[in-house]
Symmetry: D2
């Protein structure tokens, strides 16, 4: 059995992660931490029946764990990653702290980094793309919720040189769990229900540099995206439309074939049949990423639509998928409990 610890266990991603780990046949939970609720039983702090008592992040017995999941705020996470790794545990960080390889870009967006010396060993945990590097990794930077779908859709095409790196536009809509558990005016029921709005549009959202880093890596050239996040009046799910221009001579069939070749054997990627578009209800509470390709109606232009559950494939599900790969387990373990 793998002994797993979770820091920041009472937030939405933490809670989702604990649920998944509890049904994982090869995992036992070593500890759960919470700065706010230390000393309380887990079941008394969030929607769970699990009775383990929470400890402070400072009191965590790292040496008892084979793997430590960090569900902490950006900036706060890296210091604990260091502690975990020094104690001999592997670490999957669900914050942004190890996603950006370029320290200066990180510090532009997030402020000072607490463990820059670890950056070079962090593997970006977009499982389908980085699977080989994940085997035996000590430190994994779990991807952001918004990046996951668009990256899975675009990376194969950029690697194959099928689409232009300019003009990419991502119009993305996220459920409210993405805004976190902290009560605020933004997340008050009265401001979300029967409402819909965009925020931080353009190149202002913190997931922009993460998306651009990974797209640039695939394309082997710099890429600037336009990115428009929105807040949906639902609990979970991200649906993204990506507006893409193909290289001259690239057909719809070429793009579709690229996806099919890349993802034929992937258990969590579903390519929608032509004419069918993903719905968030189809991916809710699953680790699936559904992708559709639609001609935009203008020569050479296409619309890609991706759908994931932001708390599962966009956070805790993908984290467990990464853990399964790191430890040589069946990749789908504990991740098929949602819809049939």
């Amino acid at each position: 059995m793998i002994k797993a610890g979770v820091l920041g266990a009472t937030g939405f991603a933490g809670n989702e992660l604990v649920d998944i780990l509890l049904r994982h046949p090869e995992v036992e939970i070593a500890f759960l931490s919470s700065a706010s609720y230390a000393g309380k039983r887990y079941c008394d702090t969030c929607r769970s029946t699990f009775k383990m008592t929470l400890v402070t992040p400072e009191a965590v017995p790292y040496a008892n764990a084979d793997i430590v999941f960090l569900c902490l705020p950006h900036g706060a996470s890296s210091a604990y990653a260091k502690l975990a790794i020094e104690a001999g545990a592997c670490c999957i960080d669900l914050s942004a702290d190890f996603r950006l390889r370029d320290l200066s870009i990180y510090e532009t967006w997030y402020g000072q980094h607490q463990a820059p010396e670890l950056l070079s060993q962090a593997v970006y945990g977009l499982t389908e793309v980085y699977r080989d590097s994940l085997v035996g990794a000590k430190l994994v930077a779990n991807p952001g919720c918004y990046p996951t779908g668009p990256l899975l859709a675009l990376i194969p095409w950029l690697k194959a040189g099928l689409i232009k790196s300019k003009h990419l536009i991502i119009d993305a809509k996220s459920g409210t769990s993405g805004a976190g558990a902290k009560p605020s005016e933004k997340t008050h029921f009265m401001n979300v229900h029967e409402n819909f709005s965009a925020y931080n549009i353009g190149r202002l959202h913190r997931h922009v540099p993460e998306i651009e880093q990974e797209l640039a890596g695939a394309a082997e050239q710099d890429i600037q995206i336009v990115f428009s996040p929105h807040l949906l009046p639902i609990t979970r799910g991200i649906l993204s439309n990506i507006y893409v221009t193909a290289i001259d001579g690239t057909s719809e069939q070429d793009l579709r074939a690229s996806w099919e070749t890349t993802y034929a054997d992937e258990p969590f990627i579903t390519l929608c049949a032509a004419g069918k578009l993903p719905e968030l209800a189809d991916v809710a509470r699953t680790n699936a990423c559904h992708m559709a390709l639609t001609p935009a109606g203008r020569e050479g232009e296409f619309i890609v639509t991706t759908a994931i559950d932001n708390l599962v494939k966009g956070a805790s599900g993908q984290a467990v998928q990464n853990m399964n790969v790191m430890f040589g387990l069946e990749e789908t373990l504990a991740l098929t409990g949602g819809k049939a």
Copy 2:
């Protein structure tokens, strides 16, 4: 007092229209029709306390009305427009039947037209743009819900030659009232709530030719848009992001100045301050159109965000605004009853 009749009074647009007309100080309702509910009192067929008995569209006493509003399905509307006009009434058609000036384009999208001889006299009722032509008009084609916001945003810029006519992308999200009152799997609560999806994306939605016609008219050249409609789990409102490329040398300030000049005195257009984005809750149950301009973060590219209530500015509110103009009344009459 203006005597107004409403055909198709029990659908969502019809019901919203009756509400507005009942609080209009210069209007009395002459008749209400419904094919399904003729013989019943209005208050027994939809959310209203108005007790007038519904008649069939065939039994309507057109000669009793100064103006007839048609809230009928596309294709069914034009035949009744003809009857109303022959009886001497003015007519505002909320269907698509008179929106497209080119008969062949109409018939490609909607099938055979029942009154093509009237097409040439129909005025497209985007009030802020066609106000002069509306005064004294006999037949007004009320704009579609999706077109209204984007057209109001883009027409001034295309007329002034400030933006490129290529590359326009509209990513639009509509509340469920836009799908109509007829029960279907698509509108079943279980399929809308906690769900979100796109439909008819590319150049497949019937509002595409309407938007393209009006943009082309403003730009004096053909325009092809990419248009992505979505269904939101809320009752009312349309939020659209429009991705725009400026002509070389056009600055954010130029675009903003164009809007300010055009809309300075418009009672229903609100230009958001830089950095502020519209929310659907701000326009719900009002005749307002909120517009924001945001730099996209790439040289020369911008994001326009527009918000309207699809049942008010996108349908019945704009219809009454048009009636007010046609009859020389104060344009805001009966249209300021929503939020302060």
Copy 3:
């Protein structure tokens, strides 16, 4: 024109009240206060386009107002009522501070009272019941949101001796605006949406003594109710089921006749036809109270169902209705702007 001031103008009840006052033909707003947002324009603090600058409650020029509305927290309100009245203004308090005539009961539930000397002159503002006392009143205690519907339903029957004063049970469900604008775990979208729960059931909710006071007054004997409030995942509305046992010999027809006699000419009371039950969507954004009477299926037992909009008839609409009566205006002024 009546000059009206509003203290606590940026909360949900305050915002609703400002909306209503702005469309009132006989009112002009003299001032708006907010402890949190003083110095800001009203339109920058909540969903409104009204540009008046907010002042602190301390800086309010009471002498400029004919009437002051208090939308302040329980306990905080009474001190300002005193200031307003001393300055010569009338006052309608939307908090609980003047609802309970017995000081000791008030202090049991709410703590020390700041202006007990005013209690004796306060009129309980359930308009339909206390209309005569409201004419010329200086201080009105606007009823609580939960009490309004059940009191309107039961008071006529208790006055006429038609129902037993024992066994009354009220099972009530309220939209989330009733929980106030302050962000909290309870009002976080993630805890309200797709959820439903009861709270403070039994005789624990602060509206219990208010309901019991008014029922006892009508029955001329002490009454204990069982009261079960719930939080609904909607923005506005309260639907209550009241379980009632009739005095032997009282028929359904007797009960219905009592309502009809009492409420025949009331503009805001709708008695549902037999077999029809109220829905919250029918009363949303109106000052109406819908009531239905249904045989419970056991000898002598009945179910009363009442529906109101908690922010309108349950707060700000009833406050304006009271103001209209106090100042001798048409009682429905500014209160018919919702549904037809």
Copy 4:
């Protein structure tokens, strides 16, 4: 492996059941039927990835199944139960057809019965109460969604003579999945969202005779309940308040002790600590029934609050729980996949 067939597999209960069976380690699905979608793949008719082709109920190979689940409309179910049993399969009927032991009561509420000769062998599948009779049963009548929670709460007390059989009132609120998958005005998103209403209150709902039968059996005397069902704007869950009067001398502690004795070892029953009330979000997608006991604040009166997921414990989860008992399997198999 147990071979299971499902008739009516594409409705909400059927879909939920297929999900559960697919994750059941001891079950393989033998066939799925649908009158409407026969010939299509399951995954093309509802939210599932399961690719089995649907057959008509007439073409079902009953002999291939060890157990047949009937998710068919009331009245239509019994004829197929007969076919299944004659072919040698066990049968769990999720409709009402075998719940009422008295044929005349059944026919009063549902019309003519298609297989009355089977009534006497049907076991009422409220697992915790009828577990012993379920072992080896051939025909199980799965309880209705509304009855499940209140019966589990009240039966122990009635058996022990702790509460009065008169005055029982159940005020129950159900998510919209309870209204079925068929599109209708009632289930249109626009009529459910931001709405709330009661229906069939008194003794008019078809679940009344079912609840009364089981309560009367426990009390060994006739019982009449008052029952008020409501439609909640959420997808799943039933929260019920039950108003109870204790026998003189029965204390809160007596009632609580009765529950604790009865349910100490039940895996799916959670007794809430004093002062804590169940929330629907806590039971969503689980087979749990949460129960709370609260003093009503009047001498000898109590409020019981129960919460279940209507599609799981109120339908398909309980059906699988029953199957597990019938076949001697671990009772929790496939039923612990929801929340931790």
